[in-house]
Structure formats: C-alpha cells, structure tokens
Amino acid sequence: MSCEKIALLLGIENKKIMATLEALEAVVEQTRRDILRMVHKVNSGHPGGSLGCTEFFVALYHEIMHLNEGFDMDGAGEDLFFLSNGHISPVYYSVLARKGYFPVEELNTFRLIDSRLQGHPTTHEGLPGIRIASGSLGQGMSVAIGAALAKKLNKDERLVYSLHGDGELQEGQNWEAIMYAAGNNVDNLISTIDFNGQQIDGATDDVLPMGNLRAKFEAFGWDVLEIEKGNDLEAVVNGMQEAKSRTGKGRPVCVLLHTVMGNGVDFMMHTHAWHGKAPNDEQLATGLAQNAETLGDY
C-alpha cells in the first residue's frame, strides 16, 4: 500500500506521514548507535539480528501499536508485543528506553551485574515493557496466543504482536502454536518472522532448510503477507498497517519480514558472522560513523 493510501485511510495529510517517517528514521539511526555501543561496551550480545530488525521495532512502537501511558503487566486496552527470539535484546531495550519505558541511561547497564537489562529479556528484574522471559527459543508464539486468548475473554479489542527468528522456526513448539492459532481462529494475533536467512552456524538453508515458509504458514491456515523491504521504514510501516487490516477476519496473520542481518553497518551486513559477536573499538568507530547521533547518545 502506498503512503498516499495510508494517509487517506488514516484521514491525515501525506506530508504529515512523511514528517513522521523522517522522525522515525532519526530514531532508527539512533537505535543502531545504541545497539553498537551496548554490545561493544560488554564485548558480548547480538548485534546482527538487532540491526536487521531496527526498522520493525521502531515502526511497531512508534507508529503501529496502540500503547497506554506507563506499564502494567496485564496491558488491558493496549496492544501487546512479545519477542520470542530474545537474543536481539539490544534493539528491544533501545526502543523501549527511547519510547520512555525506562531511563535511556540504563542502556549503560546492559549485561552488567545487578542490571535489569539481562542478556536476554526477562520479567524477573522488573524491567518495564517486558512481559515474558525469552531466550530459550520457540516459546514466544505460544505465549502470544495465550495473551490473545485472554484479550478475547476480556472483550479487549486490541491486538497481540510477536516476533520470531526464521531459524527459530526449527523449534517444534512453533508448529504446535501455528496449528493451534489457525485451528482456533486466533485472529487478533500478528506474528512476524524475521526472514534474514541466517542463523548462528550459517545460512538457514545450509543448517536446516525450512522450505517454503509462506506455503507452510498458508497450509496451516494463516493469512500471510510479505514485506520484501524489511529494512525500508516506509515499507515496514505500510506492511504492518496492511497486516493490522487483516486481523479480526478469522485467521491469525503472519508477516514474513525480509531483512538483512546487520543492516545499517556495512561490514556486518549479509553475513551470520555478527550474529553473536561484538565489534572492537575500531569497528565500533566505523559503525558509528555510518549512523548519525540524531537523538543524543545515552
């Protein structure tokens, strides 16, 4: 869907959309800086997948989801998001902090002792914005389904979003969840797959080929749409708006989000090498030079 069409749908002017996109691009650039600086400081963490999903997170939290002020676990009357591939915590933490869930300075504590910003996201330390622990893969879709069912029981019209790695779909629990959601018409759920074709040991096609994911989801009974340019902010916003419009029609919605691992930092792109590896001082400087400090470093 074009920008103009969205503007028409939302009843606002095109130029306002463009202004929004510009503002969001600034958040994206700053988020990339945050990710690089967080993993560099502790020489650990997962920059590759984080960078690949930056546009998605920024679009989701700043444009797509309806969110209440503040945070409470139940999230009544607001959209909910569940990160299943918890290792991309750097992008999650940066976006949550810059959205106001907790102080941006706290990004300094990522992976340090006594921090709320654990290596993988958790509710255990009481970090606002997090509703489930994730890291051990394959569990998030089931949780998202549960939250979506609770919303239906509570007559809460808001939606539930989830994000999963493509490699993560090798975990069998996903397919139990995919079967359940379609079989039980969980149509207030939008599950997005970070389709970057990479996992720790290499290309997903080499590690364990998963065949045609679109056909698989469709065969299970999901409504599938693809965002071919998953690192183009406008395409992501349009695609997720389209996904929203397909909810409430009896089927769960799957978004295949085609992304490039390491996007926005040239030497990290198109490789699995930076899945779980931090840049050194020199590499950090190179990466930061490619992403302007738009909102101010923490």
Partner: protein, 317 residues
Amino acid sequence: MTKYVDQGKNDTRSGYGAGMTELGRTNPNVVALCADLVGSLKIQTFIDENPERFFQVGIAEANMMGIAAGLTIGGKIPFTGTFANFSTGRVYDQIRQSIAYSDKNVKICASHAGITLGEDGATHQILEDIGLMKMLPGMTVINPCDYNQTKAATIAIAEHEGPVYLRFGRPKVANFTPVDQKFEIGKAVLLNEGTDVTIIATGHLVWEALIAAENLEKEGISAEVVNIHTIKPLDDEAVLKSVKKTGCVVSAEEHNYLGGLGESIARVLALHHPAPQEFVATQDTFGESGTPAQLMEKYGLNNKAISEAVHRVLRRK
C-alpha cells in the same frame, strides 16, 4: 491411636475435577487447559458449565504451557491438565522460562503421577517429577493424599499468587481426610501422635503410613504420622518438632528417593537436628506394567515397606 475411616474409595484426580467444578462456579478468572486428556483429568463438568473458559490444545504440551503463561497476562488463572510425565519432564524448559522464571500465575495440574498409574508402564509412570519441580525457584509443589484433600488443594491454589505444581494420581484410594477441610499451603498435617518414630508421608503413601502405624502399635511401637501435602515450601517447623520428640524418621513417597520429599526432610534435619532417617521411595529405578497394588508391593511403597523401614530406623536410634 487416632482412628481414620475410609469414607469410600475414590481417585485423587476426581478430587481435582470436583475442585475445578467449584472453581468454575466461584472464580470467573479460572480457565482450564487440557492436552487431549479431558476424561482422565475429570474436568468435563467444568467444560460443560464454562465452555468459553476451556482450551483444548491437543497433544501439544509445550504449546499448552506457553499459552497458559500468556493467559495470565490479562488476569486469567490457568490450570493446565495432563499426565504428570507430560506436565513436567516433557515441558521442563517451557515451565522454566515461560512460567517459573517469568513468575506467571499458572497452576500445573498433573494426574497419573507415580507408579500407581499401573498397566501403562514406565513410559507414563514419572517418579522424578517432584524433584524436577521443586528445583525451580518460586515453584510451589503439592501432593495431596486423597480425594477430599485434592479437591481442597485445587480450590486453595487458585487463591495463591504464583506458579504451582499440583500432583495427583489415577487409582481409587482411601478417602479419609475431612470433606470440608481448610487447605493451608505449606502447612503439615499431624495425623497421629506418637513417641518412638516419626513417619512423614505424602500422596498415596499417607494412608499406607496410617495402616503401618496401626500395625506398629500392636507391636508396641508408637509412631507419629505427619502428612506433608506441600513438599515446597516444606513445613520445616513441623518436621523438626516431631523428630526432636521421636529421634528418628521414615519418609514415604511414591517417587524416586533422589529429589523427593525424603531428601527435603534430610536437608532440614542435617541443618538443624541430625537424626537417623530411612527412605520409603523407589530406588533410582524406572517402573513397569502391573496393577497398582502389585507395583506398590514390588517397589516397596506400601504399609509393609513402611513398617520394615521403621524397624530399620529404630535399630539406628
């Protein structure tokens, strides 16, 4: 000694079903999930009366645990139902991450626990579940002894905030605790006062402990019988109070001696009041097919085994 009367044999899983029926009528936030074992878990009445609050997940226990965790977000109190083996070992990581570590208010309700599941054999007879569950930080572990207590426990855990593992069984056993008992999580129940030895039992072994105490009395041995329905948090005070009086203890459970109630008692005693202890439990083995009575006999889990353990522990006093 105190006389306990069997009010009529019944299965503890039916106690769970009855508890769920009552919760369905009294607590609108309670929801039930089941992995294709509705008949075994005895929850048909709950389903009939509250169809919108029941989720049949099919043979997909991992998904069931995740969905239960998600349902708590929005204020629901999910009760999951399947056999003990599939409620614990099969889904340990799902429980660990999505429920225990995430501190979700999920009640994991497990039927057909232990060796008395019987003829299905070792694939279905889990004897390690108490150990698995009690090792999870924040998890409450409950193993009631009869129908009435299982019903009371089911109702009580709905009021408890936090994850709970509720373990019960398949066979019809003596139903001897009060109909309208108040179930206090973490509180031991003193069933019979004695002075020579303490028998601390859980689950199906509690009735066997009472029979053993009766037989021992005829031999002139005064046995105190304590029912531990809550294995975690353990009622340390009750354990210590009794063992300080009698000077020795026999623990009795339908579970491996590794990781079970006996080890929890041994820890309390080692820390505060070392005393001789004998373990009535399975001896690091899998089960096999057979009738519940045959298996209890063969694996040393009946009143005869408890009496023998009492004689052993008295010699060590």
